[in-house]
Protein backbone atom coordinates (compact mmCIF):
# COMPACT_ATOMS: atom_id res chain seq x y z
CA UNK A 1 0.00 0.00 0.00
CA UNK A 2 2.82 2.37 0.92
CA UNK A 3 4.48 1.54 -2.36
CA UNK A 4 1.30 2.46 -4.26
CA UNK A 5 1.15 5.83 -2.51
CA UNK A 6 4.82 6.45 -3.21
CA UNK A 7 4.40 5.50 -6.87
CA UNK A 8 1.43 7.82 -7.19
CA UNK A 9 3.25 10.67 -5.46
CA UNK A 10 6.27 10.04 -7.64
CA UNK A 11 4.24 11.15 -10.66
CA UNK A 12 3.13 14.48 -9.21
CA UNK A 13 5.13 17.65 -9.63
CA UNK A 14 5.32 18.13 -5.85
CA UNK A 15 7.09 14.82 -5.34
CA UNK A 16 10.71 15.94 -5.22
CA UNK A 17 9.98 18.95 -3.05
CA UNK A 18 7.86 17.08 -0.51
CA UNK A 19 10.28 14.19 -0.31
CA UNK A 20 13.32 16.36 0.17
CA UNK A 21 11.62 18.65 2.68
CA UNK A 22 10.27 15.75 4.74
CA UNK A 23 13.73 14.20 4.68
CA UNK A 24 15.29 17.51 5.72
CA UNK A 25 12.75 17.87 8.52
CA UNK A 26 13.30 14.30 9.73
CA UNK A 27 17.08 14.78 9.73
CA UNK A 28 16.94 18.15 11.53
CA UNK A 29 14.56 16.71 14.10
CA UNK A 30 16.85 13.72 14.55
CA UNK A 31 19.79 15.99 15.38
CA UNK A 32 17.46 17.96 17.69
CA UNK A 33 16.52 14.68 19.45
CA UNK A 34 20.09 13.32 19.62
CA UNK A 35 21.43 16.57 21.10
CA UNK A 36 18.57 16.58 23.59
CA UNK A 37 19.67 13.07 24.58
CA UNK A 38 23.02 14.50 25.69
CA UNK A 39 21.23 17.24 27.64
CA UNK A 40 18.79 14.86 29.36
CA UNK A 41 21.40 12.32 30.37
CA UNK A 42 23.82 15.01 31.61
CA UNK A 43 21.11 16.74 33.66
CA UNK A 44 19.97 13.34 34.92
CA UNK A 45 23.46 12.46 36.15
CA UNK A 46 23.91 15.82 37.90
CA UNK A 47 20.44 15.45 39.44
CA UNK A 48 20.97 11.99 40.92
CA UNK A 49 24.40 13.08 42.22
CA UNK A 50 22.79 16.06 43.99
CA UNK A 51 20.16 13.74 45.41
CA UNK A 52 22.95 11.52 46.72
CA UNK A 53 21.68 8.51 44.77
CA UNK A 54 24.77 7.78 42.66
CA UNK A 55 28.24 8.88 41.67
CA UNK A 56 29.47 9.39 45.24
CA UNK A 57 33.01 8.34 44.23
CA UNK A 58 33.32 11.79 42.65
CA UNK A 59 32.54 15.26 44.04
CA UNK A 60 29.36 16.88 42.77
CA UNK A 61 31.47 19.71 41.36
CA UNK A 62 33.73 17.33 39.43
CA UNK A 63 30.74 15.45 38.03
CA UNK A 64 29.01 18.69 37.08
CA UNK A 65 32.20 19.86 35.35
CA UNK A 66 32.58 16.52 33.54
CA UNK A 67 29.08 16.69 32.06
CA UNK A 68 28.98 20.48 31.60
CA UNK A 69 30.56 20.57 28.13
CA UNK A 70 28.21 17.85 26.81
CA UNK A 71 25.21 19.50 28.42
CA UNK A 72 25.86 22.93 26.92
CA UNK A 73 27.19 21.73 23.57
CA UNK A 74 24.02 19.62 23.31
CA UNK A 75 21.96 22.63 24.35
CA UNK A 76 23.57 24.78 21.65
CA UNK A 77 22.81 22.12 19.03
CA UNK A 78 19.23 21.86 20.28
CA UNK A 79 18.76 25.63 19.98
CA UNK A 80 20.33 25.87 16.51
CA UNK A 81 18.34 22.97 15.05
CA UNK A 82 15.24 24.24 16.85
CA UNK A 83 15.55 27.67 15.23
CA UNK A 84 16.00 26.14 11.78
CA UNK A 85 13.01 23.87 12.35
CA UNK A 86 10.96 26.84 13.51
CA UNK A 87 11.40 28.57 10.14
CA UNK A 88 9.50 25.75 8.49
CA UNK A 89 7.23 24.84 11.37
CA UNK A 90 3.92 26.26 10.14
CA UNK A 91 1.17 25.13 12.53
CA UNK A 92 3.76 23.77 14.95
CA UNK A 93 5.46 27.14 15.37
CA UNK A 94 4.82 30.43 17.09
CA UNK A 95 1.03 30.38 16.60
CA UNK A 96 0.84 27.10 18.48
CA UNK A 97 -0.17 27.53 22.17
CA UNK A 98 1.87 24.43 23.03
CA UNK A 99 4.95 26.24 21.75
CA UNK A 100 4.56 28.90 24.47
CA UNK A 101 4.27 26.12 27.06
CA UNK A 102 7.42 24.49 25.70
CA UNK A 103 9.36 27.76 25.78
CA UNK A 104 8.27 28.56 29.35
CA UNK A 105 9.31 25.08 30.54
CA UNK A 106 12.58 25.30 28.61
CA UNK A 107 13.56 28.68 30.07
CA UNK A 108 12.79 27.46 33.59
CA UNK A 109 14.82 24.29 32.94
CA UNK A 110 17.80 26.24 31.54
CA UNK A 111 17.77 28.72 34.45
CA UNK A 112 17.60 26.00 37.10
CA UNK A 113 20.30 23.91 35.38
CA UNK A 114 22.62 26.91 35.11
CA UNK A 115 21.93 27.87 38.73
CA UNK A 116 22.69 24.36 39.99
CA UNK A 117 25.89 24.19 37.96
CA UNK A 118 26.97 27.67 39.08
CA UNK A 119 26.40 26.81 42.73
CA UNK A 120 28.47 23.64 42.36
CA UNK A 121 31.24 25.52 40.55
CA UNK A 122 31.39 28.05 43.39
CA UNK A 123 31.41 25.55 46.25
CA UNK A 124 31.57 21.73 46.13
CA UNK A 125 29.79 21.47 49.46
CA UNK A 126 27.20 24.16 48.71
CA UNK A 127 24.25 21.75 48.84
CA UNK A 128 25.56 19.86 51.87
CA UNK A 129 26.39 22.70 54.27
CA UNK A 130 23.06 22.95 56.10
CA UNK A 131 20.06 20.61 56.53
CA UNK A 132 17.97 23.20 54.73
CA UNK A 133 20.22 23.17 51.66
CA UNK A 134 20.34 19.38 51.67
CA UNK A 135 16.55 19.27 51.63
CA UNK A 136 16.38 21.96 48.95
CA UNK A 137 18.84 20.06 46.75
CA UNK A 138 16.68 16.93 47.01
CA UNK A 139 13.78 19.05 45.74
CA UNK A 140 15.50 21.18 43.08
CA UNK A 141 17.57 18.41 41.48
CA UNK A 142 14.62 16.18 40.49
CA UNK A 143 12.59 19.31 39.63
CA UNK A 144 15.31 20.32 37.17
CA UNK A 145 15.22 16.90 35.48
CA UNK A 146 11.41 16.91 35.41
CA UNK A 147 11.37 20.39 33.82
CA UNK A 148 13.52 19.01 30.99
CA UNK A 149 11.25 15.96 30.61
CA UNK A 150 8.21 18.27 30.51
CA UNK A 151 9.94 20.40 27.86
CA UNK A 152 10.40 17.32 25.68
CA UNK A 153 6.75 16.32 26.21
CA UNK A 154 5.57 19.79 25.18
CA UNK A 155 7.89 19.60 22.18
CA UNK A 156 6.41 16.32 21.00
CA UNK A 157 2.91 17.57 21.71
CA UNK A 158 3.36 20.54 19.36
CA UNK A 159 2.02 18.10 16.78
CA UNK A 160 -1.10 17.38 18.88
CA UNK A 161 -1.91 20.83 20.23
CA UNK A 162 -5.56 20.65 19.16
CA UNK A 163 -5.95 17.57 21.38
CA UNK A 164 -4.55 19.37 24.40
CA UNK A 165 -6.00 22.80 23.57
CA UNK A 166 -9.36 22.03 21.92
CA UNK A 167 -10.80 24.97 19.98
CA UNK A 168 -13.36 26.88 22.05
CA UNK A 169 -16.11 26.58 19.43
Amino acid sequence: MLQNIQDWLGHTGMADYVRSSVTAKALLESVHILAMGLVLFSVGMISIRLMGLAGRSESATALSRRFGPWLWAGMAMVLITGLVLLTGAGQRGLANPMFAVKMALMFAAILLTAALQASLAADTAYWELTPGRRALAKLLAPLCFLLWLATVCAGRWLAYWTTFFPPAY
Binding site: M1, L2, I5, V22, T23, K25, A26, L27, E29, S30, I33, L34, M36, G37, L38, V39, L40, F41, S42, G44, M45, A54, G55, S57, E58, R66, W70, L149, V152, C153, R156, W157, A159, Y160, T163, F164
Partner: protein, 168 residues
Protein backbone atom coordinates in the same frame (compact mmCIF):
# COMPACT_ATOMS: atom_id res chain seq x y z
CA UNK B 1 3.94 -12.93 4.81
CA UNK B 2 3.04 -14.73 8.02
CA UNK B 3 4.83 -12.00 9.95
CA UNK B 4 2.80 -9.30 8.22
CA UNK B 5 -0.40 -11.20 9.03
CA UNK B 6 0.64 -11.37 12.68
CA UNK B 7 1.24 -7.62 12.70
CA UNK B 8 -2.18 -7.06 11.17
CA UNK B 9 -3.79 -9.35 13.76
CA UNK B 10 -2.33 -7.12 16.49
CA UNK B 11 -4.54 -4.30 15.22
CA UNK B 12 -7.65 -6.26 16.26
CA UNK B 13 -6.72 -6.40 19.96
CA UNK B 14 -8.32 -4.24 22.63
CA UNK B 15 -5.03 -2.53 23.39
CA UNK B 16 -4.70 -1.53 19.74
CA UNK B 17 -8.24 -0.12 19.73
CA UNK B 18 -7.46 1.91 22.84
CA UNK B 19 -4.27 3.34 21.32
CA UNK B 20 -6.21 4.19 18.14
CA UNK B 21 -9.29 5.67 19.78
CA UNK B 22 -8.20 7.44 22.97
CA UNK B 23 -7.07 10.90 21.85
CA UNK B 24 -4.38 11.12 24.55
CA UNK B 25 -2.99 7.56 24.31
CA UNK B 26 -0.76 8.07 21.27
CA UNK B 27 0.70 11.49 22.23
CA UNK B 28 1.43 10.38 25.81
CA UNK B 29 3.00 7.06 24.77
CA UNK B 30 4.98 8.88 22.10
CA UNK B 31 6.35 11.43 24.58
CA UNK B 32 7.54 8.63 26.89
CA UNK B 33 9.01 6.83 23.88
CA UNK B 34 10.95 9.91 22.78
CA UNK B 35 12.23 10.63 26.31
CA UNK B 36 13.34 7.03 26.85
CA UNK B 37 15.04 6.83 23.44
CA UNK B 38 16.86 10.11 24.19
CA UNK B 39 18.12 8.61 27.46
CA UNK B 40 19.17 5.33 25.78
CA UNK B 41 21.20 7.17 23.18
CA UNK B 42 22.46 9.92 25.50
CA UNK B 43 23.70 7.40 28.08
CA UNK B 44 25.23 4.87 25.70
CA UNK B 45 26.92 7.73 23.80
CA UNK B 46 28.78 8.69 26.99
CA UNK B 47 30.21 5.16 27.31
CA UNK B 48 31.07 5.13 23.59
CA UNK B 49 32.80 8.52 23.91
CA UNK B 50 34.84 7.20 26.87
CA UNK B 51 35.86 4.13 24.82
CA UNK B 52 36.93 6.50 22.03
CA UNK B 53 39.03 8.49 24.50
CA UNK B 54 36.95 11.64 23.98
CA UNK B 55 35.04 11.99 27.27
CA UNK B 56 35.66 11.19 30.96
CA UNK B 57 39.25 10.27 30.08
CA UNK B 58 40.44 10.37 33.70
CA UNK B 59 37.81 7.84 34.78
CA UNK B 60 37.98 4.05 34.56
CA UNK B 61 35.97 2.50 31.74
CA UNK B 62 34.24 0.20 34.25
CA UNK B 63 33.19 3.22 36.32
CA UNK B 64 31.60 4.90 33.30
CA UNK B 65 30.05 1.56 32.35
CA UNK B 66 28.50 1.24 35.81
CA UNK B 67 27.12 4.78 35.86
CA UNK B 68 25.69 4.55 32.35
CA UNK B 69 24.13 1.08 32.08
CA UNK B 70 21.34 1.45 34.69
CA UNK B 71 20.09 4.45 32.67
CA UNK B 72 20.50 2.66 29.36
CA UNK B 73 18.66 -0.52 30.34
CA UNK B 74 15.86 1.22 32.25
CA UNK B 75 15.27 3.62 29.39
CA UNK B 76 15.54 0.82 26.83
CA UNK B 77 12.87 -1.21 28.64
CA UNK B 78 10.54 1.82 28.67
CA UNK B 79 11.21 2.54 25.00
CA UNK B 80 10.41 -1.06 24.00
CA UNK B 81 7.15 -1.16 25.96
CA UNK B 82 5.98 2.24 24.70
CA UNK B 83 7.22 1.43 21.19
CA UNK B 84 5.26 -1.82 21.01
CA UNK B 85 2.13 -0.09 22.32
CA UNK B 86 2.54 2.73 19.78
CA UNK B 87 2.66 0.38 16.83
CA UNK B 88 -0.33 -1.77 17.84
CA UNK B 89 -2.78 0.81 16.50
CA UNK B 90 -1.66 0.30 12.91
CA UNK B 91 0.85 -2.52 13.19
CA UNK B 92 0.49 -3.57 9.56
CA UNK B 93 1.36 -0.10 8.27
CA UNK B 94 4.48 0.04 10.45
CA UNK B 95 5.59 -3.48 9.48
CA UNK B 96 5.51 -2.55 5.80
CA UNK B 97 7.19 0.84 6.32
CA UNK B 98 10.74 0.95 4.96
CA UNK B 99 12.07 3.28 7.66
CA UNK B 100 10.56 1.12 10.40
CA UNK B 101 12.20 -1.97 8.90
CA UNK B 102 15.55 -0.17 8.74
CA UNK B 103 15.14 0.92 12.37
CA UNK B 104 14.58 -2.70 13.46
CA UNK B 105 17.61 -3.88 11.47
CA UNK B 106 19.79 -1.15 13.00
CA UNK B 107 18.59 -2.10 16.50
CA UNK B 108 19.43 -5.74 15.81
CA UNK B 109 22.86 -4.65 14.57
CA UNK B 110 23.38 -2.62 17.75
CA UNK B 111 22.46 -5.72 19.74
CA UNK B 112 24.96 -7.93 17.88
CA UNK B 113 27.65 -5.26 18.32
CA UNK B 114 26.88 -5.10 22.04
CA UNK B 115 27.04 -8.89 22.38
CA UNK B 116 30.40 -9.12 20.59
CA UNK B 117 31.79 -6.28 22.70
CA UNK B 118 30.47 -7.71 25.95
CA UNK B 119 31.46 -11.36 25.44
CA UNK B 120 34.81 -10.84 23.66
CA UNK B 121 36.35 -7.37 24.01
CA UNK B 122 35.12 -6.73 27.56
CA UNK B 123 36.89 -9.84 28.92
CA UNK B 124 40.23 -8.00 28.84
CA UNK B 125 38.86 -4.73 30.26
CA UNK B 126 41.09 -4.87 33.37
CA UNK B 127 44.13 -4.48 31.07
CA UNK B 128 42.94 -1.15 29.59
CA UNK B 129 40.43 0.01 32.20
CA UNK B 130 42.35 3.15 33.20
CA UNK B 131 43.92 3.82 29.79
CA UNK B 132 42.81 6.76 27.66
CA UNK B 133 43.63 4.71 24.56
CA UNK B 134 41.43 1.62 24.53
CA UNK B 135 42.11 -1.34 22.17
CA UNK B 136 41.03 -0.99 18.51
CA UNK B 137 38.25 -3.54 19.04
CA UNK B 138 36.72 -1.34 21.77
CA UNK B 139 37.01 1.78 19.60
CA UNK B 140 35.38 0.02 16.66
CA UNK B 141 32.56 -1.22 18.90
CA UNK B 142 32.06 2.34 20.17
CA UNK B 143 31.96 3.82 16.66
CA UNK B 144 29.54 1.13 15.49
CA UNK B 145 27.34 1.68 18.56
CA UNK B 146 27.20 5.45 17.95
CA UNK B 147 26.44 4.93 14.26
CA UNK B 148 23.72 2.33 14.83
CA UNK B 149 21.96 4.32 17.54
CA UNK B 150 22.10 7.58 15.57
CA UNK B 151 20.63 5.60 12.68
CA UNK B 152 17.89 4.22 14.94
CA UNK B 153 16.88 7.77 15.95
CA UNK B 154 16.92 9.06 12.36
CA UNK B 155 14.85 6.13 11.07
CA UNK B 156 12.53 6.35 14.07
CA UNK B 157 11.81 10.02 13.48
CA UNK B 158 11.45 9.32 9.78
CA UNK B 159 8.79 6.68 10.46
CA UNK B 160 6.57 9.43 11.84
CA UNK B 161 6.74 11.28 8.53
CA UNK B 162 6.39 8.28 6.23
CA UNK B 163 4.07 5.71 7.82
CA UNK B 164 1.04 5.66 5.59
CA UNK B 165 -2.51 6.83 6.25
CA UNK B 166 -2.44 8.04 9.82
CA UNK B 167 -6.13 8.00 10.79
CA UNK B 168 -5.70 9.47 14.25
Amino acid sequence: MALLDAFSAVEDTGVAAFVRENPYAFPVLEAFHVISVMLVVGSIAMLDLRLLGVSSRSHAVTKINDEVLPWTWTAFAISVVTGVLLLTGQAGAYASNLQFQMKMILMAAAGVNLAVFHFLTWRSVHHWNEAVATPPAAKIAALLSLSFWIGVVICGRWVGWTVSASPF
